[in-house]
Amino acid sequence: MLSIHYGLNVRRKMLILLLLTSGFLLAILILSFWLSNDNLRLSAASKNLVPSVQHLFGTDWLGRDMFTRTIKGMRLSLILGAFTSLLSVLIATVMGICAASFGKTVDAVISWIIDLFIGMPHLVFMILICFIAGGGVYGIVLGISLTHWTAMARLIRSEVMQIQNDEYIQISKSYGKSAWFIARRHILPSIFPQVMVGFLLMFPHVILHEAALTFLGFGFSPQTPAVGIILSEAMSHISTGKWWLVVFPGLLLVIVIKSFDSIGEKIRILMEPTSSNE
């Protein structure tokens, strides 16, 4: 009796935490639309202000409010993150299902491609693709989504292989259903939860790498309020002691990434009832 109560509590606690973290991310998104662009106007009067109640994150060397800049940068990261995660999850799902469904040759080819893609250092590959796509949003989206699908494709492949040995698939086959029908009606629905969790867990990686790319100077023009650009600009002001330009935007980035990570993990655990009480 006691253990059942305890189990319920763990799940409930998780759900509450889940709601809180999602609420936090939503709040950032809402704030990013609510904060007015006036705060980004250059003003000589409010240059280099230390963080205070009016300027939570302080102001930069042009008098722009760092809180507004950071939040707007976060919005860009979130939107890009959603888009690129979606793309790479799509690639991963297609690749994974193909590897598992179309025989040994296709499987070998796909596993070779995966090995090829993880052979180049992640960041280097992203820079190459970004460079070749000519930079900009395109470059970043292509660069990140073309490099992040590999691990998940492997996961989906093994999952699909397992399902394909199940009896209902065998029966469906013996009824003469086509491979396409089986993939669409039997396999896709049963791997959908995995794909969803994969999508959520892809988010933190994508945001992290987007920040790294923009920090190095690839992708966006310096006017864009991306977190990486904010931090790389702030880098040249470190030696004059303006620590807040670096500390707060980065800290918010870490918290956002961690939030996504914990949302993904919690949903993954909640969807596996057998292990969610551990």
């Binding site: 090829l116 190095l216 690839f218």
Partner: protein, 322 residues
């Protein structure tokens, strides 16, 4: 066993060929013409230089012929000439490789050893406060951008405490020959520390998982029943069963390590391969970029290959099994 290794070697070779084809076709696909990029970047290129460049890329031939002439040149160690530095790419790579290798090597060793010990400590004290701290630390580190960590270290130790210089590998304004080893070390500490701090998380978490599995195994329960102390269990059962996965994991970490060093080098203006690649990419120096990309991939392939071999072959229990 030997046969297995040979098969793996062949696979690595096909992958390397595939990689060169991939790189080549990506560049070929791009709207950017290497020759135009070359001339456009700098109007001072002489006709002979342009000729040489055209010959290197084999612009007038078909794509397949172009690939073969390019790959042939690569095999002879001819990586072309850098547009930015006006010297052969291979020379630049050689000179930067040592600085990068020192940085990555130190971080690799430090993060491996510290990560392993932390993972062990967490597993042996599972559920206690130490375990929680280590777990929290590792999970937070995974979400932390390495360049931000570098900037924070810079703020605290270089600007705040003034223990270390703000950047570069040697003091500015000093002749290369006058730089003392101590100076180099002084400039080396912060980038190496940045790179090490983040590498810890990966090994620590894997070692912890692995060690928890080991501690739940029957032979450990039996050892406890015999009255072995924690230290004895660690020495006789823990290390032997967990060190190999940790080492092979660390070898498979080469790719992340290189990416990390790119960011760390950028933060500290440390002149290694990574920061050179960043500059080459931003300025559109294609030959230099391709050269570093291929070298870094070689490096990662070597790491993955070693990890593979370690996983499958070195384990004494696998002797004769393959």
């Amino acid at each position: 066993m030997a046969k297995n290794t040979v098969i793996r070697m062949i696979r690595v070779v096909t992958l390397l060929i595939g990689l060169s084809i991939l790189t080549f076709s990506l560049i070929h696909l791009s709207p950017m013409d290497p020759v135009n990029a070359y001339i456009g970047g700098d109007g001072s290129a002489s006709p002979e230089q342009i000729e040489k460049f055209k010959e290197y890329w084999g612009v007038d031939k078909s794509p397949v012929e172009q690939y073969f002439s390019w790959a042939g040149a690569l095999l002879q160690g001819n990586f072309g000439t850098s547009m930015l530095y006006r010297t052969p790419v291979i020379d630049i790579i050689q000179s930067r490789f040592v600085t990068s290798l020192a940085l990555m090597g130190t971080a690799w060793l430090l993060s491996g050893v510290i990560g392993y010990l932390l993972g062990m400590a967490a597993a042996m004290n599972r559920g206690k406060i130490i375990d929680r701290i280590i777990k929290w630390y590792s999970y937070t580190l995974v979400s932390t951008p390495i360049f931000w960590m570098g900037l924070i270290l810079l703020i605290v130790f270089a600007v705040g405490l003034e223990w270390f210089p703000v950047g570069l590998a040697v003091p500015p304004g000093v002749m290369e020959s006058d730089v003392r080893f101590l100076d180099r070390l002084h400039h080396f500490v912060l980038p190496a520390l940045t790179l090490s701090i983040l590498g810890v998380a990966n090994v620590a978490m894997h070692t912890r998982e692995k060690m928890i599995d080991i501690l739940n195994a029957e032979y450990v329960v039996f050892a406890k029943a015999r009255g072995e102390s924690d230290w004895q269990i660690f020495k006789y059962h823990g290390i032997r069963n967990s060190i190999l996965p940790a080492i092979s994991l660390q070898f498979a970490y080469f790719g992340e390590l290189f990416g990390g060093s790119m960011l760390a080098e950028q933060v500290f203006a440390y002149p290694g391969l990574g920061s050179t690649l960043t500059t080459a990419g931003l300025k559109g120096d294609l030959p230099l970029m391709v050269g570093i990309i291929l070298i870094s991939s070689l490096f990662v392939f070597a790491g993955n290959f070693i990890a593979d071999i370690l996983n499958k072959v070195v384990d004494p229990r696998m002797k004769g099994a393959i």
